[in-house]
Amino acid sequence: MTSTTTPPATGPEAPAPGRPGARLVRAALRHPAVVPVGAVVLALLIGAVIILAAGLDPVTAYAAVISGALEPGSLDYTFSVWGFIIGMALAAAIPLRMGEFNLGGNGQLVLGGLTAAVIAGNLPLPGPIVIPLAVLGAAVVSGAFGAISAPLATRFGIPIIISTLLLSPIAVAVVSYLVRFPLGEAGAAVAQTPRLPQDARMWALGDLSYSNVGLLIILALLVVFWLVDSRSAVGFELRVVGANRRFGAYGGVRVGRLALGAMAAAGAAAGVVGAVMVMSSPFRLIDGALISPGYTFAGLAAALLAGGRPALIPVTAILFTVLQVGGAAMERSADVPRQLSDVLQGVVIVVLALRTVLDQRRTERSSA
């Protein structure tokens, strides 16, 4: 952003005035964890005010969220959602690392789901072959779809944030059409593909009914991203370009190519999530079922809260998973509409973005 100027950081060489205790507090406030944790706490407080204003009880509501998501009976389901949100957080975080926004997660997600449904539903092959094939196919198709945005940005100057936003509803509409008509189950009341054959369902983990090997696949993707981000030249280039695009280009990074790779990887991550969702219970692609839970934006929120850092994504994803899964329980037992989960997601992101007010104060104080 040209309008955004980073305020000069107050260096350690400036001795903080005041008693040592105050200095310690001030140093603690600069800890990198303060801002994200503060954003969450503030968002929860704002949420509590909203619940109070609606004439309801925030304590009961939040207790219901936590118990609904974390009671032993629902942990199986909660873990599966955690996996989906981590996957969608990857789809957002990889481009975010180089300063780009992928807002087309929904389109990439449903394309992956469709590809997996087609491959797994039509190839009469044994499970060990057809399951990896379906996941891989979903990654390839969604990756290619995500990658379209890179040349649109480099050749035609259409920002990735805009092109992903415009491409996504097209993919959603096309998939919705295919599920309703050519690929849909004949005679079904809702638009859905036929149930996948037993062989083509994602391998179970013990006797869990929601969490399955798909969760492990998504966690493996997270580990790969963490390794690439922290240990490889490409990861370094991503972060350099994210910090300063011109400097990266000057330093010899081929920004266009990097964007292509980042968007392909992001699309592939979303595609894998779609494939895992389709190959999990109820083992079919139902029109709208992949996008209606809102994993795309929960993932985006988790990625933003983690600042795109792969090691933090599983942690921030826990928060949005609990909000997502617990929201339904809150609605049932505390009578607070589940849309509060969306409100809290939005508030967390806004508060996080507005953290710059702290920098602003600091520069004002140091220049005064």
């Binding site: 952003m1 805009i162 415009l166 997601q345």
Partner: protein
């Protein structure tokens, strides 16, 4: 046949009007150097506020006023955050868009006890200009529309001329083009950016009111359905120049109206829904092919990578 074609023109105008107001908000922000992608959420909030205001005051104009004022207030988050606190307008906008979806759905349940949609019988829609019914040509086009439809073109023309000829408009453009230069001439950059974003919020409020009390008389969850994003694309397409917005927005309106027509003759709804996005993207690409390496809207394309030398 004649009436059929005028009816189509009316449908195009109806579809284009909410997008026009939102796109004007985006264009003004772009002129001041603020990348405003909060239009979708602001329009959704405006639609909800319009319906709630109309319901409680018993008057559609009360609804319009509620929408304008409360959406302007809602846009203060973006205005102050981006202009004064130098926060990333993209992240704020992602947050406020989510907030608008959540808050409207939440309030729908808390205030009215319904989910999905709200259209009580006593809900007042904005009045249509029925007095024009007997006027040839204008009648068939405008008699079924609210006064906000022609007003959109008046506002856009006024904004375009204001930007071009007034000293304040010149300063605003200066703020967008080169904030440091503007600041060195004594222009208060943050103040211009803040106020133009808040005015944009008011315009998005009008857009929402037209959508929920003009095009239809109902509030439905997520009823903006991507119109705010089409408006963002329209702003990009015209490089932030308000006077060109009608061309872009009427094009989108035509795509939407044509989609309805095609649905009427049996085309699947899913595919006609995709048409406005596909057309927008294709037009964006086509205009960029014509103008190689010409940066038409520096403010709008800042997130595009600069090609490596």
């Amino acid at each position: 046949m004649h009436v059929f074609e005028l009816g189509f023109v009316a449908a195009v105008l109806l579809a284009a009007t909410p997008i026009l107001y939102a796109a004007l908000a985006g264009a003004l922000s772009a002129q001041a150097g603020v990348f405003n992608i909060a239009l979708e959420g602001q329009m959704l909030w405006g639609a909800f506020a319009a319906v709630a205001g109309s319901y409680y005051t018993g008057s559609a104009w009360g609804g319009l006023l509620t929408a304008v004022l409360s959406t302007a207030l809602f846009s203060v988050i973006l205005a102050v955050g981006a202009a004064r606190w130098k926060a990333d307008p993209i992240i704020i906008a992602i947050g406020t868009n989510l907030l608008a979806i959540g808050l409207t759905g939440f309030l729908l349940r808390v205030l009215f006890g319904v989910s999905g949609s709200f259209s009580p019988r006593e809900l007042q829609g904005l009045p249509k200009m029925t007095f024009l019914t007997d006027v040839p040509v204008i009648g068939p086009i405008f008699s079924g529309q609210t006064v906000l439809v022609p007003f959109a073109f008046v506002v856009i023309a006024a904004a375009g001329i204001w930007l071009k000829v007034s000293p304040a408009g010149l300063r605003l453009r200066g703020v967008g083009e080169h904030p440091d230069a503007a600041a060195s001439l004594g222009v208060e950059v943050a103040r211009y950016q803040t106020w133009v974003t808040i005015v944009g919020g008011a315009l998005c409020g009008i857009a929402g009111a037209q959508l929920a009390l003009g095009n239809v008389t109902v509030f439905t969850e997520n009823m903006t359905a991507g119109r705010g994003w089409i408006a963002v694309a329209a702003v990009m397409l015209v490089g932030g120049r308000p006077l060109w917005l009608p061309v872009a927005c009427l094009g989108f309106g035509a795509a939407e109206a044509l989609g309805f027509r095609l649905q009427g003759i049996g085309a699947p709804q899913q595919l006609t829904d995709a048409a406005p996005y596909a057309i927008t993207l294709l037009v964006l690409i086509a205009t960029r092919i014509r103008l190689p390496r010409r940066r038409t809207a520096a403010a709008v394309t800042t997130s595009a990578p600069t090609p490596a030398a």
